[in-house]
């Protein structure tokens, strides 16, 4: 009777499905994160039920594995070239089978979803593995985990182990949904020397949104932040013939900036966007240093400038700039070409006429919310004009405000000119996003950074020259040693500082390194090789965006080969999961969506027409996060 009573009161059973365990296991070694999300469920209903497994993972991560285990039988995911997978996928589709997809989800995340029918009384285990290199921003590494189980989970746990050979200087973990109760007992964080640990393990009762509720309060962001000790500016680690070199000097003065803001004031910026832009620019003006030079260029149908040339950020000039910014009004159409070319000319002119300090760096930041529709409006021609005008002399950063624009165009143009593009989401915090971006690029400590290694000693090096090193960031270079038995080698990092030229030298003693790295075995194996592969693929894909013809083919081939070799789901590969359903084999596919995943692509439209894009909300969401009403899109 007692047992029956317990059964009838079984916690966490929703519509016959009990999710009895969800574990997010994170192992970070030298910034390289290896995350495994495992969810176990059982169908307690007396008939077959469909369950779905949803995980939101960072856009910067690559899925490396997925397995589905039903009643002890494992169905692994196979990573294949996208075209091959697509054919298999379409074949499955044509046979009326369904598929799981990865979709863009919000600013930072993409969503992995898969669903399966589980027979009455059967158990199912979903396990998704993804890896990413944590990047340093504003002095810390951030690992972001979306937590959103749709029901109470008997054993819910986030368990993160961090190993940093340089030693951990700070470690913190925060959850947007945290309560005092959870803070006190469910969340533990500790670090000592090279090791850090974060554990979040709420009991069933702690997961309830109220004492008598059956829904979960675990809904939001779980973020782990940490940084490492920096006894010296560089750190080189070598394992099994692969090395990684981290470089982040401290204590250097900021190189003065010559900065031109090229701002879209066309009619579409009217209302909140122009208001937020003004707010952000006013904040940015507060952060300007007196050594900096600046100007504003506004473009609509025509181009207007605040000053004819760059002016120093003196208190008087900044006050005048504030008045100018407060009076920015929207009008007319979008003449990106002329706005940008005016900005480029202004920066070049300031340098040529020695209006700005010799040791300063020039930066062009453009903000637009739409496509060019007056003046030169052909994207390729604008790119060509800007590329020719800048001539590699300084970086262009493009900020795309909202969704109504050709982001690829902005990104290509920025990448062609040593900069980067960033999407500014049209939310209430858009001004903070703008300001945050500025802060990232506002403090260059070094320019023209070049990392050099002994000739003939290194192979397969990732990018080793960077136009800027920004305060609070980190340069990461990885590669392979020609001779994995070499005893030592030297790395030089050269750069131009605010006052002088600097050359940092790092001597790597392999024997010392071996000893230091022995203790990390318990974390995970060939992490430097995987880190190198991840970084190489990331950089090949970035270069590929800007390449044409044979070069593009070569870059694609290289990135594809590595993606397949190291089992990464990248934009060139797909993971195919064959699973049993309704007594019939069924194929699911996981792709990596791109930044342009804002509209339904032709191929997806085709898939939807034939019924692939089924409403997965009918399933029960398990895992670390759940499915919500997102548009059915795929950015392939």
């Amino acid at each position: 009777l007692r047992l029956l009573g317990k059964r009838s009161l079984r916690e966490g059973v929703v519509d016959g499905i009990e999710v009895y365990s969800t574990k997010i296991s994170c192992k970070v070694t030298s910034r390289f994160a290896h995350n495994v999300v495992t969810t176990r469920a059982v169908n307690r209903a007396d008939k077959a039920k469909e369950v779905s497994f949803d995980v939101e993972l960072p856009k910067t991560a690559f899925i490396t594995n997925f397995t589905l285990t039903i009643d002890g039988v494992t169905y692994p995911g196979n990573i294949k070239e996208k075209e091959v997978a697509q054919k298999q996928y379409e074949k499955a589709v044509s046979q009326g089978k369904t598929a799981g997809l990865v979709k863009a989800s919000g600013r930072k995340l993409e969503k992995f979803t898969v669903s399966v029918n589980v027979a009455a009384g059967s158990k199912v285990t979903f396990e998704l593995t993804y890896e990413e290199l944590l990047k340093r921003h504003k002095g810390k590494y951030e690992m972001y985990i979306k937590v959103q189980p749709k029901q109470l989970v008997r054993h819910f746990e986030i368990d993160a182990h961090i190993f940093e050979p340089q030693g951990i200087s700070m470690l913190d973990a925060e959850a947007s949904f945290i309560t005092n109760d959870l803070l006190g007992s469910a969340l533990t964080k500790s670090f000592s020397g090279k090791k850090g640990h974060v554990s979040f393990k709420p009991s069933l009762d702690q997961q309830r949104s109220c004492p008598t509720c059956t829904d979960s309060l675990l809904n939001g962001d779980f973020t782990i932040v940490y940084d490492v000790n920096r006894e010296s500016p560089g750190n080189v680690q070598v394992v099994n013939g692969y090395f990684v070199h981290f470089f982040a000097p401290q204590g250097l003065p900021v190189v003065p900036k010559n900065i031109v803001f090229v701002i879209d004031i066309s009619g579409s910026m009217a209302g909140r966007k122009i208001h937020q832009t003004r707010d952000a620019l006013l904040k940015i003006l507060d952060d300007m240093k007196e050594d900096d030079y600046l100007n504003f260029i506004l473009f609509s149908t025509h181009v207007t400038t605040w000053k004819d040339s760059l002016v120093q950020a003196t208190p008087a000039n900044l006050e005048e700039a504030r008045m100018f910014v407060k009076n920015i009004r929207d009008e007319g159409m979008t003449n990106i070409n002329d706005g940008l070319l005016r900005g480029v000319h202004m920066l070049k002119d300031a340098r040529e006429r020695h209006l700005v300090p010799e040791r300063s760096t020039s930066i062009l930041i453009m903000l637009t919310d739409g496509d060019a529709n007056t003046g030169e409006s052909r994207p390729q021609k604008i790119q060509e004009n800007v590329r020719n005008a800048i001539g590699g002399k300084f970086p262009l950063y493009n900020l795309g405000f909202g969704n109504n624009l050709n982001y690829n165009f902005l990104e290509t143009m920025a990448l062609e000119n040593n900069g980067l593009a960033r999407r500014i989401y049209e939310d209430s915090d858009a001004n903070l996003q703008l300001q945050g971006f500025y802060e990232e690029v506002a403090n260059p400590l070094l320019t023209n950074v070049e990392v050099e290694y002994p000739e003939n000693a290194i192979l397969d090096l990732t990018k080793n020259n960077y136009p800027h090193f920004y305060d609070g960031s980190e340069i990461v270079v990885a590669g392979r040693l020609v001779d994995s038995d070499m005893n030592n080698f030297k790395a030089d990092v050269k750069g131009h500082g605010a006052l002088n030229d600097l050359t940092f030298t790092e001597e790597v003693d392999m024997k010392e390194m071996d000893a230091a790295l022995k203790e990390q075995g318990y974390i995970f194996g060939n992490y430097i090789e995987r880190l190198w592969a991840y970084l190489t693929i990331e950089q090949l894909l970035e270069r590929r965006k800007n390449a044409f013809g044979e070069e593009k083919e070569n870059l694609t081939a290289q990135a594809l080969e590595l993606s397949l070799k190291y089992h990464f789901v990248t934009p060139l590969t797909s993971m195919v999961v064959t699973k049993p359903e309704d007594n019939e084999d069924q194929t699911s596919i996981a792709d990596k969506p791109g930044e342009e995943a804002t509209s339904v692509t032709p191929s997806m439209a085709y898939l939807r027409r034939i019924g692939l894009g089924r409403p997965v909300a009918q399933g029960k969401a398990l895992g670390a996060s759940s499915f919500s009403d997102v548009p059915l899109v795929d950015g392939d």
């Binding site: 010296s232 500016p233 204590g251 250097l252 006052l499 600097l502 050359t503 940092f504 030298t505």
Partner: protein, 240 residues
């Protein structure tokens, strides 16, 4: 701190100590023509105040400025700060880094030494002497060496700078001293007749831990008679 003055013309070496309270800053070099000034702040042993410790003193902080370049370097046993105004770069003794700008080169050799060169005629080496961190008495200190001064002007002064220009001395009447291993002698230098003692000091430029033994004539009483004026004339209020 100990001072060692090698006199090339005589192929001999003179040395002296300056015994002052920890915290005292001494002017070591001052050249109004090149604009270069070097100062050094004295430290004692751990916990040593004016009336404690072993009485031994060292340089714990050095300041190098070039007035014409508007540039300064502050070196402590922990870190090295260089630059001007608010634009300062901070390095640690754990870094290996070379900093160059027109007319200046600074190289820090991790945990060992740093080399400061102004053009091609002025070169200083600063040596980091590290002791066991938990040593009950001793603490880290700095050594300062002038490797090249041929571009410094004849007007250069300071406890070290005054010896950049040629000077002469005579040593005679070598006789047994109070320590049988260290004979005394009479030295005539700068028109003064002094009693000096044969001793030895160590040059740590090449080997920072063991050093190289240098035989020298030791001038007593804070170099009185050897140095221009008295040692207190070289005390300055601050490093810069």
């Amino acid at each position: 701190p100990h001072f060692i003055i090698h006199v090339p013309g005589k192929n001999d070496t003179i040395c002296f100590n300056i015994d002052e309270k920890p915290g005292t800053v001494l002017r070591l070099i001052q050249d109004p023509v090149t604009g270069i000034t070097v100062t050094g702040q004295i430290i004692g042993d751990k916990g040593s105040g004016p009336s404690s410790g072993t009485g031994k003193t060292y340089f714990g902080k050095l300041g190098i400025t070039n007035a014409w370049m508007d540039f300064r370097i502050e070196v402590t046993t922990e870190k090295i700060i260089l630059g001007n105004g608010e634009a300062l770069s901070t390095f640690r003794w754990l870094d290996t880094v070379t900093v160059t700008q027109t007319g200046l080169s600074v190289t820090i050799n991790r945990k060992k030494n740093m080399v400061v060169s102004f053009g091609d005629g002025v070169k200083f080496v600063i040596v980091l002497h590290q002791v066991w961190k938990k040593h009950p008495v001793h603490q880290d200190f700095l050594g300062f060496y002038v490797v090249d001064s041929h571009r410094m002007s004849a007007q250069t002064h300071g406890l070290l700078g005054q010896f950049f220009r040629p000077f002469d001395f005579e040593v005679f009447d070598i006789r047994p001293g109070s320590d049988p291993t260290k004979p005394d002698a009479t030295m005539v230098v700068k028109s003064h007749q002094l009693t000096v003692t044969r001793g030895s000091q160590k040059d740590y430029r090449k080997d920072t831990s063991v050093g190289t033994k240098v035989l020298c004539w030791f001038v007593h009483n804070n170099g009185e008679g050897l140095i221009d004026g008295v040692h207190t004339d070289y005390i300055v209020p601050s490093l810069f």
